[in-house]
Symmetry: C2
Subunit: 466 residues, 2 copies
C-alpha cells in the first residue's frame, strides 16, 4: 500500500474543515493517540482531527480519498486489540466531540446518538425514563461507536444479546464521503442486504458511523444477583449450562476463581465476603415482579446447593456499595493489569460445553510456558477473557512466549468449535488467528467486501483483514 505522506498543505486544508482549535498535526500530536488501552501496538497518526459533525467527516473523507491518505477512527480508545491505532499514519478522527444525544423517542422506543456518546451516558439518558439499553460491556467509558464497531457483548448478552441486536439504524460516511443511512426506527427489516449488520462488527474498516439509533425496552423493574461459591472449578463450570437450561434465563452468568478476587484485594483493595472458595458463579436475574423474582432466587439457590454441588449461596445486597460483588467483578481487568508490567489478552469464545476442558488447558499452557495466565469470563455465553502476564520475563523471551501461548490457546479453542473473538474484535493483533480459523475463502470474501466499500483501502487499513 502506497499512501501519501502528509504535508503542511494537507494540514491547511483539514484545518479549514475542522477549525484551527481542533487539529493537532505532526510533532504536536499527543502521544495518547498512538495507542489503545492495552498498548501492544503503537504508531503516531500524522494529524488528529477533533471532528464535530458528519458534514466535516464527509469533507475530510472526500479529501483523504482524493489524496490517498489513510484515516483511522478513534472513539474512547478503550480497544484492547489495536483496532483504533493508526498503524499506517495519516489522519485520525477523534470522535469524542460528537457526543450528543439527539433524540429519545418514547413512542418508537429508540435513542438516537452520536458515536462519541459513552456507554454510561446512554444508561443515564434512558434509565430515569423507565427505559433500558441492555448491552453491558465491562468498560462503561467506551464509546457507543466503538461498541457497535466491535459488536460488543458484555455481561447481559446471555439474556439480551449483543450490541448488534440493539442497533436499529446507522448513519455512516463511506470512504468516498457519501452519507448513507442503513435501517430505520422500525423493529423489522427485510429490505435488501443487511448493510447495517455488515457495518456492525467491522471495526471501522468499511464506513464511519456518524449516528446510531438504538433500540430500547421498558426497564425490568427488579434485579437481583447471587454469588454461588464452589469448592471445585468443574462443579461451577458444569453448573452454568444446567442453570441456564433447567430454570429461567439469567441476565448474567459470570465465572471467576479465587485468584481473581485475590488480585482485586491486592491491587485495588476491594474484597468480598466469602472470598475463600475455589470458584464462583455470579448470577443475575431480572423480573417485573418482586415476588416472582424472590421465588426465582430461592429456587436457583436450592438447585445449586442440592443438585449442582455449590457450597454456599450469597444473595447480593444491592444497597451495600462497598461489598458489591459487581464492583469487584468490574475491577478484574484493572487489577490484573496492575499486577503485571505488561500483558496481552485473548478474548476467545467457546461453546459452553467445552469451557471446563479449555480452562484446564489454559492452566496447562501456563505451567508449561511458565507464564502467569489469569482469566475470568462471561461463562453464560462462553466468552473468556484470558491474560498473558509478562511480569519479569525479558522482552525477547516474552515475544516468543506470548506468540507460542496464543498459538496453543487458539489452536485448542478452534478444535473445540470456538472463535477468535467474542467481543473485543480482531484489530491488528488477532488477524493471523482469524485467518487460521476461517480459511482463505472467507478472507477472500471479506477482502472483496472491503474493496466494495473502500476501493483505495484508506479506512483503518491493516485491520481485521489485510
Amino acid at each position: 500500500m502506497n499512501y501519501k505522506k502528509m504535508y503542511q498543505e494537507d494540514v491547511k486544508v483539514l484545518t479549514s474543515i475542522v477549525g484551527e482549535d481542533f487539529i493537532e498535526a505532526f510533532e504536536d500530536v499527543n502521544e495518547m493517540y498512538s495507542m489503545d488501552k492495552l498498548g501492544t501496538v503503537k504508531n503516531m497518526p500524522e494529524a488528529v482531527l477533533h471532528v464535530e459533525n458528519k458534514f466535516q467527516i464527509q469533507q475530510i473523507m472526500k479529501y483523504a480519498y482524493q489524496e490517498n491518505i489513510p484515516v483511522t477512527v478513534r472513539g474512547a480508545g478503550t480497544s484492547l486489540v489495536g483496532g483504533s491505532v493508526a498503524v499506517m499514519g495519516g489522519i485520525m478522527l477523534d470522535m469524542s466531540r460528537m457526543n450528543k444525544i439527539k433524540e429519545l423517542d418514547q413512542i418508537n422506543l429508540t435513542l438516537t446518538v452520536e458515536p462519541g456518546v459513552k456507554l454510561f451516558e446512554i444508561y443515564q439518558a434512558v434509565e430515569p425514563e423507565g427505559l433500558f439499553y441492555a448491552p453491558d460491556p465491562g468498560e462503561k467509558n467506551a464509546s457507543i461507536g466503538g461498541n457497535i464497531s466491535t459488536n460488543a457483548g458484555g455481561m447481559r448478552a446471555i439474556k439480551y444479546g449483543t450490541t448488534r441486536e440493539w442497533v436499529r439504524a446507522l448513519e455512516v460516511v463511506t470512504p468516498k464521503g457519501e452519507l448513507l443511512k442503513f435501517g430505520s426506527k422500525v423493529v423489522k427489516n427485510s429490505t435488501g442486504y443487511g448493510l447495517k449488520d455488515l457495518i456492525i462488527g467491522s471495526e471501522g474498516t468499511l464506513a464511519i458511523i456518524v449516528e446510531a439509533t438504538l433500540k430500547l425496552i421498558p426497564k425490568p423493574r427488579f434485579t437481583k444477583s447471587m454469588l454461588v461459591c464452589f469448592d471445585n472449578r468443574e462443579k461451577a463450570i458444569n453448573a452454568a449450562p444446567r442453570l441456564i437450561k433447567d430454570y429461567v434465563l439469567p441476565t448474567a452468568v459470570e465465572y471467576f476463581e479465587k485468584q481473581a478476587l485475590d488480585y482485586n484485594e491486592a491491587f485495588l483493595g476491594t474484597s468480598v465476603d466469602g472470598g475463600n472458595y475455589q470458584a464462583y458463579l455470579l448470577l443475575s436475574y431480572d423480573n417485573n415482579d418482586d415476588v416472582a423474582l424472590d421465588k426465582d432466587i430461592a429456587n436457583v439457590s436450592k438447585l445449586v446447593l442440592e443438585n449442582y454441588g455449590a457450597s454456599e449461596v450469597m444473595v447480593v445486597d444491592p444497597t451495600s456499595k462497598r461489598s458489591n460483588i459487581w464492583n469487584v467483578r468490574g475491577g478484574f481487568l484493572t487489577a490484573i493489569n496492575a499486577s503485571t508490567s505488561f500483558m496481552d489478552e485473548c478474548d476467545v469464545v467457546l461453546p459452553r460445553a467445552r469451557i471446563s476442558e479449555f480452562l484446564a488447558y489454559v492452566r496447562e499452557v501456563s505451567s508449561e510456558l511458565s507464564i502467569r495466565i489469569p482469566y475470568f469470563g462471561h461463562i453464560g455465553d462462553g466468552n473468556l477473557h484470558i491474560y498473558l502476564c509478562k511480569d519479569d520475563i525479558p522482552n525477547e523471551k516474552w515475544d516468543r512466549l506470548v506468540e507460542e501461548g496464543f498459538d496453543k490457546l487458539y489452536k485448542k479453542a478452534f478444535e473445540f468449535g470456538g472463535l477468535v473473538s467474542g467481543e473485543h474484535g480482531i484489530g491488528i493483533a488477532k488477524r493471523a488467528y482469524m485467518k487460521q480459523l476461517l480459511g482463505e475463502e472467507q478472507l477472500e470474501l471479506m477482502r472483496g467486501i472491503k474493496s466494495v466499500f473502500d476501493p483505495k483501502n484508506i479506512l483503518n487499513p491493516m485491520k481485521v483483514i489485510s
Copy 2:
C-alpha cells in the same frame, strides 16, 4: 445476462449427481415450481433437482458455475414476492428432502437443522424438551431456509426479535461450489465481518444455506393472551406503543379491524366472541410465574380500560380450540385470499408512531382508486400486511391500479420513515420501491457485494437487486 440454455446433456450430468428419481426436466417439470404462494410472477425452471445433501449442492453449483446456468433455491414455496421463482429458467433446487433435524444440543442450547425443515417441525422438536425457538411467522409450513433468507419476523418479534437473532451459525455453498461455515454455536462473535448476518435476509442471492444452527432458550412456562376491543381505530392504534412502554414487554401486539373477522367468518367459517367492535388489539404476555402473569394480565386490563379507551377485554381461553382468537388471526391471509379472484400485497414496516396516519391513508387510496384493500398487522413492531384485491376489476385496469396503489402507499410509507419490507423480502416484485427508498449508492454497494459472492450472477438472478 446471457445464460446457457439447458440441454439433455446438462440433464444427464445433473442426473448423475442427484439420481434419476430426483430430477424433473423440461416438459416434465411440475407447474407448481413455476410460482410461489401468491403467484404474481411465473416462470418455469428447465430442471428441478430434489437435492438430498450439501455435497450434491456443491457439485451442482460447480457445474452450473462452469456452464453459466442460473440456479434458484426453493424451500416450501411460501414466498409472497416471487423470491423463489426461477425467472431466468435454469436449475431449481428443491430443498424439501433436506429436512433432517441434525442435533439438539442441550448444553449449548442450539438446534442444528437442514434448510428444508419446516417451522412447525422446529417447535415440535424443541418444545417437548422445555426449549423455545421464538420466531413465530404466520406461515408455519415455511421452511427454515426461507425464514432465514428473508429474516422472517412474525408475531413475537416485539419481544424476541426476528429470525436473525436466532441464528448462531450457517453453513452455505457459494455460487462457485465452496462449502463455508459462518458463526458457530457460541453466543457472541466479533471475529471478522458479519458474513452470517449478510446471508440472513439476502433471499438466496449470495449463497445457498445448507445447514443452520439455531439459538434456543428455556421455554417461558406460562403464556396468556387477551383480546382488547375498541370502538374506534385510533384508540386501539395509539394504545399499542403506550402499552409497550408503560408496562411489561408483550410477546405479541397484533392489530386488526372488524373487517378481518368478517372475512374469516364468511370464507373460513371461524368466528370469535365479541366480534362487533371496530378495532382490536390481540396481546400476549409470557412469564415463568403464573401468579405474576395473572397480575400482568389484570394490570394491563385495568390500564387499557381506564386509560386507553378500550371498551372490553377478553382473556383468551387457551383450552378452547374452536374460539381461539389465535386460530382466527392465523386465518386472515387465507380468508382475504379466498375473498378475491387475485391479490397483491404490501408488507411495509413503519415506525409505531405513524401507523394510525398511514392506515388512514390506505383507506383513502382504497376509496380513491376503488380497490378493496383489507389489512392487518403486527402493530407492536410496525409491520403491516396490506392486500390489494382484484375482485372483478378487468386485467389491464388492475395492472394499472395495482401499480398506482403501490406507488402511493410506498411513497407515503417512506415519508413516514418506513421501509419496503418488514419480513417478506424484496424478491422480484418490490425491487423498484427498494431503489426509490435506498437510492443508487446503496444499491451500488449491494451490487458490489453480490459480485463478490457471485461474479457470474448465476444464483437467483434478478432478485433483490438487478
